[in-house]
């Protein structure tokens, strides 16, 4: 059951690579948050009550509800609809993401002694999620897309922490939560400021600072 949810989580990244509609990206974040909650919930056996409350808050409330709601508000405020100016066509983008995800699946079935202490299934998918997110950040030109991919990367890191067979120190959980708040901070402070200062959300506007042609 858990493995099925993890596979679904990996597949959401393919959908993210294939679509340019920003509202669909936000829906993906909701689905990822929900999947992470279910993955945690199915592994709650023997976990302390405090950890259960913390993980539920982190996945269900913050990742599945708070961030998508906040992003939705930003999308409406900035009237952003699509991210059409990616550096690579969506077909190739999807193809490369699929290759990375495939490599993640291959990692799952690898029989290496060093991997004995981890859940290779979660680990492989988490790693491919992180790599796909980083790859998408480099090719997308819309600031909101970049923020969304940053959050999917955080979700990948969360899944990575779940792949470790032992219980993570509480500091690690706090760390994941803090990263999520960074994402909200980026959204809240910068995205609206950039929008009001530059008029739209294109990364191309943020390339004035150069070494040789600098103007005050």
């Amino acid at each position: 059951m858990v493995n099925g949810l993890v596979i679904l989580f990996g597949l959401t990244m393919l959908y993210l690579s294939a679509t340019s509609r920003l509202i669909a990206h936000v829906k993906i974040l909701f689905v990822q948050g929900l999947l992470l909650f279910l993955i945690c919930a199915l592994g709650f056996n023997g976990t302390s009550v405090g950890t259960i409350v913390f993980l539920t808050f982190e996945t269900l409330f913050v990742k599945a509800i708070l961030i998508p709601w906040f992003l939705n508000k930003v999308l409406k405020k900035t009237r952003s609809n699509r991210d059409t100016d990616a550096n690579i066509a969506h077909f190739y983008c999807l193809f490369i993401s699929s290759l990375i995800l495939f490599a993640g699946f291959m990692f799952c079935i690898a029989d290496i002694p060093s991997l004995a202490m981890i859940n290779t299934f979660c680990f492989g998918i988490a790693l491919s999620t992180i790599i796909i997110s980083l790859w998408l950040i480099t090719i997308k030109r819309n600031i909101l897309s970049n923020v969304i991919e940053f959050i999917t990367m955080e979700n990948g890191i969360f899944l990575l922490s779940l792949s470790v067979a032992k219980e993570m120190p509480i500091l690690v959980n706090i760390g994941v939560l803090l990263d999520v708040f960074i994402a909200i901070y980026i959204l809240g402070l910068f995205v609206s400021e950039i929008n009001s200062e530059l008029g739209d959300m294109e990364i191309a506007h943020l390339s004035d600072l150069k070494d040789c042609e600098y103007n005050d």
Partner: protein, 476 residues
């Protein structure tokens, strides 16, 4: 006493928020700087009043980093009195209060990162520094400052997230141990899984290295340092980069204890030389003197990474270099604030003949250049000399020659710009602007740089015994 240093800024922030008074803003920042400094001094005078607790401690491993942070902060806070007076002419009380609150929060986060004896906690505080300093970089609210702050937050957040992956991988490497405490990690390092340790180090080095400004993950640094107000640039360059380096150094020590040193050395050496190379190439293209100083920070972080990778006598050089760079670079950035106030431009080509308008700023600018470029008796001369000696002792002659060549190229690039700015021909258009702005530079905007430079040059001639002992304890 440690609790006081961590609680006081929170109390001061609340007070500033309630009163929103410009005088109180400056007093609060200076007061915190003095309390911060007193904690550092009490380590030497009466160590028992420090009272280390479960998560924070002041010990031989971090005292140098803490003292450097304290000294730079106290002198920057003094400079900030004059600087914020000029800023308050442009911005309202609310904005100036927010500026002071963010300075306190920024220093609080850096202090937490230095004092924490837990890798996870250090990571959290380093992330906190990003949140606090982003507003300061963005303080001017110009198009350029938004761009710089955006790059800073986004690139550093990705870097720190990757460092977090490194921490998760470290927990895999440590096996049955369930702790991120540095002492526990050091004690159990011999049993760690080498494969996971190496992978974890790569992520932590690249992640925290982003914050430290090591090439090839340095892209935020020139923009952020150039766009931030000058006292903030001084804090970013002279203290924040050190805080990030302390984490890398602590993990590097764990790598040594885990017997994975060969891999870690190659990584550090590669990033160190890459930083020197990037600086030597880009320094020639830049037409902004604050960007030039930012590239110099990348260079010096590269030198620290090289010194760490060499080991032996270079460890001693590493700490000396860290101290010297922090003092000289803080002085350089603060003086750049004076030049910006006078000329109202950051363009190198628009600043000429500073010496004919303001002799003190001109000499401070020149002395800061001599200090940072390791002209004797700068302490950086001693540190770089020791690094060269380490290269020769270990018979890395080609690397030594490359190191000296890149330093010479950088020295020439910076020297050309600094000499043109100080002694070039007068520009009549600028003359009127500069004369109008001379009154903005008060005595408090010269004194901190003088003290910083005095320490940089005195340490090159004489290292007090107590400092020598502390450096030796730090390098273990």
């Amino acid at each position: 006493m440690i609790s006081l240093v961590l609680i006081l800024p929170v109390v001061l922030c609340i007070l500033l928020f309630l009163f929103k008074n410009n005088t109180l803003n400056s007093i609060a920042v200076v007061a915190y700087a003095f309390v911060h400094f007193i904690l550092g001094l009490s380590y030497f005078i009466k160590p028992d009043i420090i009272q280390n607790n479960q998560y924070f401690c002041l010990n031989a491993a971090n005292i140098v980093f803490y003292l450097v942070l304290s000294i730079v902060f106290i002198l920057t806070a003094l400079y900030n009195i004059g600087y914020s007076k000029n800023l308050s002419l442009k911005f309202d009380r609310r904005k100036m209060t927010l500026y002071s609150i963010m300075i306190l929060t920024f220093v609080f986060s850096m202090t937490g990162a230095v004092l924490s004896d837990n890798l996870g906690l250090s990571w959290i505080f380093i992330e906190g520094t990003t949140l606090a300093s982003a507003y300061l970089i963005y303080f001017d609210k110009t198009k350029h400052s938004i761009e710089a702050a955006w790059k800073y937050v986004f690139i550093c957040s990705i870097g720190i997230a990757l460092a977090f992956v490194g921490i998760i991988l470290l927990t895999i490497a440590e096996g049955s141990l369930d702790s991120l405490n540095y002492v526990d990690l050091m004690n159990s390092a011999a049993n760690f899984n080498h494969f996971w340790m190496n992978v974890s180090f790569v992520f932590i080095l690249f992640g925290i290295g982003t914050k430290m400004g090591l090439a090839p993950v340095h892209f935020w640094l020139p923009d952020a340092h150039a766009e931030a107000p000058s006292p903030i640039s001084a804090l970013l360059s002279a203290t924040l980069l050190n805080c990030a380096f302390l984490i890398i150094l602590n993990v590097y020590k764990i790598m040594i204890a885990a017997n994975c040193i060969a891999f870690a050395r190659i990584m550090l050496l590669t990033m160190g030389f890459l930083s020197l190379f990037i600086t030597s190439v880009f320094l020639y293209h830049t037409n902004n003197y604050k960007r030039m100083l930012a590239y110099s920070s990348i260079e010096n972080m590269g030198i620290l990474a090289i010194a760490a990778s060499l080991g032996g006598i270079a460890y001693y050089a590493l700490i000396l270099h860290l101290i010297g760079h922090s003092f000289a670079k803080a002085s350089f950035f603060l003086t750049s604030g004076n030049i910006l106030e006078l000329f109202q431009t950051k363009k190198i080509k628009s600043v000429h003949s500073i010496i004919s308008y303001d002799k003190k700023t001109a000499w401070l600018w020149t002395a800061s250049f001599l200090g940072i470029c390791a002209f004797p008796p700068s302490v950086l001369f001693v540190s770089e000399f020791l690094i060269v000696k380490a290269f020769i002792i270990q018979k890395h002659f080609i690397l030594c020659a490359l190191f000296l060549f890149l330093l010479t190229v950088i020295l020439f690039g910076m020297g050309k710009a600094v000499i043109n700015m100080v002694f070039g021909e007068k520009n009549k258009e600028k003359e009127i602007i500069v004369k109008q702005n001379l009154s903005k530079i008060t005595a408090i905007m010269y004194l901190p740089q003088f003290v910083l430079l005095a320490m940089t040059f005195i340490l090159g001639i004489y290292i007090p015994k107590v400092l020598d002992v502390v450096i030796r304890c730090t390098i273990g």
